[in-house]
């Protein structure tokens, strides 16, 4: 195991890269989200809003058209009513002589006939040119009244036909009259009818205008000719801004209009149309909100659905993008891991070649040194050294030369073993039995250091086809490291676990220790050749890189997880069958027997 050196270095790079990665993922996330918003949400909302605006405009125009048509039809109805009654009066005047009408009961008969279907008239009178009644049918006592000074009287005498505005008259209540003048010989008489105010009012109000709507008539001075339903009363002055006479109906939007009590009315929509005779203004109006309630309702719900759709797209976008980013992260991590392994393999390959060359070159001078030593020994044997002190020194030096040459030899042989591409011998290996043997071998050494071995071996693990001698080297190295990791601790443990991984057709072997752990900044260097933190002379720094290259050659994987002061765990994955290139190279020599 790698032991802690006192100098720390290179540790700050790791979080920087992680933070940069995190920022990149965040940028990527927002870019995707904005792109989706730009490409799907923005067009959806623009089209949605556009259609909605267009539709509401269209609906409003259609509604106003309908409103105008309705009011115009209504105006015609009122005019028809007045004309009809005027015509009836003219007909009676022309078809009857005065004497006939003033006969007792005659006018009453006509009056009754008039009101046969609808009680349209309040009373009916025949009035002479002096202004006095000649005959009267109706509820009021007006017989003694003289009308010659009345406005309507002078008007009918001048024009022949007259429809009055509402006025109080002698009966002291609001009413209006239709009067026709008839010439009979030299004399003239007037047939006058008072229109039933209530009947007329219900005629005027007979238009479909909702809860806040009302319909009424104003004369040219803005005086109510019928009582409005909600505010104001007949004969009162209206606050309605009438404007000049115009042909046909006209729609107006009224803001800040006050009623008779001075209260401000909400925004209203009104349609007005002028009657020709009398010059009355028909006003039909309604609260703006009520008039357009249906359109607003449709509008609101369209917008609600539109925005709900947009929101759901946004939520789905965020979720999908998050999922995508997670996948990318996973792929990146996988790619990093593979890159790391490739880098490691490449590093090992080049260092392997270099060290093989160096080792080979060093072996030659070592061979020469050995021969020189042997020559000296031979010479000393033939001509023994006389001086005992020199002889002793000579023997010491010769022995030390041998020791040091053997040490060099061990190093170069290790280097060569690390780099050599010897032929693998592939056999069926029962990893459990194999590991038991390796543990037995190491246990003796470990016991003196107070280290205990624990094994958790998966009995269902099938045998693997692999190279036992190379595997032995790997496990010996790992276990040696695991024992060394407890340096300085009075006791410790090494746990060896095997697991079968049938899905990936792999066996997993874990070697875990409870030692000092590996510093994070060393973790990515432990497989580098010559990297060691053991004391000089104790480790060559080749153990783990040899393990790495062997496991790679056998088609497996090696991973490490370490926590400072808690321990380190190496995980080795070994394929049940060796990789194809290894099989191919073996097949040339000898066909491989598959595992049972």
């Amino acid at each position: 195991m790698v032991k802690e050196p006192h100098s720390a270095h290179n540790g700050s790079d790791v979080p920087d890269i992680a933070a940069e990665r995190k920022a990149t993922y965040s940028r990527l996330f927002w870019r995707f989200v904005w792109l989706t918003i730009l490409c799907s949400l923005a067009p959806l909302l623009l089209v949605g809003w556009g259609i909605n605006l267009h539709y509401s405009q269209f609906a409003r125009e259609r509604m106003l058209d309908f409103f105008q048509t309705q009011v115009e039809d209504h105006r015609k109805d009122i005019e028809r009513f007045l004309k009809e009654h005027t015509s009836k009066l003219q007909l009676i005047a022309r078809t009857h002589e005065r004497e006939q009408l003033i006969e007792p009961g005659a006018l009453q008969n006509v009056f009754d006939l008039f009101n046969q279907d609808v009680r349209a008239l309040t009373d009916l009178s025949v009035i002479g040119e002096d202004g006095f009644h000649l005959a009267y049918a109706g509820p009021y006592d007006l017989w003694s009244r003289n009308y010659s000074k009345e406005f309507w009287f002078t008007q009918v005498m001048q024009k022949g036909i007259y429809v009055s505005d509402m006025f109080m008259g002698f009966r002291k209540e609001p009413h209006f009259i239709i009067a026709v003048l008839h010439h009979e010989g030299d004399s003239k008489w007037i047939l006058r009818a008072t229109i039933n105010t209530e009947v007329f009012r219900s005629l005027v109000e007979n238009v479909r205008i909702g809860k806040t709507g009302q319909a009424y008539l104003l004369n040219a001075e803005g005086i109510y000719q019928t009582s409005p339903r909600l505010s104001g009363a007949i004969m009162e002055k209206s606050t309605y801004p009438m404007g000049p006479y115009h042909e046909g109906p006209q729609v107006r939007t009224l803001d800040g209009l006050k009623d008779a009590q001075g209260r401000e009315r909400p925004r209203q929509i009104a349609c007005q149309a002028w009657l020709h005779d009398p010059r009355w203004l028909l006003v039909v109006k309604q609260d703006y909100d009520e008039a357009f309630a249906d359109v607003s309702y449709a509008n609101t719900w369209t917008l609600v659905f539109l925005h709900l759709s947009a929101a759901s797209i946004l939520v789905v976008t965020v979720l999908v993008t998050r999922h995508m980013i997670t996948s990318i992260k996973r792929r990146d991590a996988e790619a990093d891991r593979l890159n790391q392994q490739l880098l490691q393999a490449g590093k090992l390959a080049s260092i392997g070649e270099l060290s093989a060359g160096v080792a080979h070159e060093i072996n030659n001078p070592l061979a020469i040194i050995l021969t020189e030593r042997q020559l000296l020994l031979d010479a000393a044997r033939q001509a023994p050294i006389a001086d005992p002190e020199f002889q002793e020194q000579f023997a010491d030096s010769m022995s030390q030369i041998d020791v040091q040459v053997q040490r060099c030899k061990r190093i170069t042989h290790n280097l060569l073993r690390f780099s050599r591409r010897t032929q693998s011998v592939i056999e069926k290996v029962d990893l459990n039995a194999f590991l038991r043997e390796v543990v037995e071998l190491m246990e003796r050494e470990a016991r003196t250091g107070g280290i205990k071995f624990f094994s958790e071996l998966d009995a269902s693990l099938p045998p693997v086809l692999s190279d036992p001698s190379q595997l032995q080297q790997v496990f010996l190295n790992l276990i040696t490291n695991a024992i060394d990791a407890h340096d300085g601790k009075p006791y410790g443990s090494v746990r060896i676990t095997t697991q079968s991984n049938p899905d990936r057709r792999m066996a997993t072997v874990k070697v875990a220790d409870a030692g000092s752990g590996i510093r994070p900044e060393h973790l990515n260097r432990i497989f580098d050749p010559f990297f060691t933190t053991k004391p000089v002379g104790k480790g060559t720094g080749l153990g783990l890189s040899i393990c790495f290259s062997i496991i790679k050659r056998l088609g497996g994987s090696i991973a490490v997880h370490s926590e400072l002061e808690k321990g380190t765990e190496f995980t080795i994955g070994l394929p049940f069958l060796p990789p194809k290139e290894l099989q191919d190279s073996l097949a040339k020599k000898e066909p491989l027997k598959p595992a049972a």
Binding site: N364, I368, I369, T371, L375, D378
Partner: protein
């Protein structure tokens, strides 16, 4: 006392010089060659009993030299001396007919033992 002839083939002249002396000290008749070509020329003139052949040499390498030696059809045994890096070549050489191989650096006693056993094989083959 052995007394048979050994040919050392190695491009390291100091090594061949030293090794010659050591072997001579142990009673062998030793000749040496510093290249494959020189070895073939030497063998054509003076056949030997055992050849100690280095694999890694400039010019003609050990394997080619061995093939040439085999072509000569001499009654001789060849020991391969390798710097260990070329251990695969050493195995290949044995398939070509070399008797055994040693890795550098080696003890003189080890070399002598191999030479003796090669000689023994040659004698057995007589």
């Amino acid at each position: 006392m052995p007394g048979f002839r050994v040919l050392l083939v190695d491009d390291e002249t100091i090594f061949t010089k030293n090794m010659s002396k050591l072997l001579k000290n142990r009673g062998y008749t030793v000749t040496s060659a510093n290249s494959g070509d020189a070895a073939i020329r030497e063998l054509e003139q003076n056949p030997v009993d055992v050849i100690v052949l280095d694999l890694k040499m400039p010019g003609m390498d050990g394997i080619t030299t061995l093939k040439e030696i085999m072509k000569l059809g001499l009654f001789t045994e060849t020991l391969i001396l390798t710097g260990h890096g070329s251990i695969d070549s050493a195995l290949e050489a044995m398939k070509l007919g070399a008797y055994d191989y040693l890795t550098k650096p080696c003890e003189i006693d080890e070399l002598v033992a191999k030479i003796e056993s090669a000689w023994g094989k040659k004698q057995g083959g007589l």
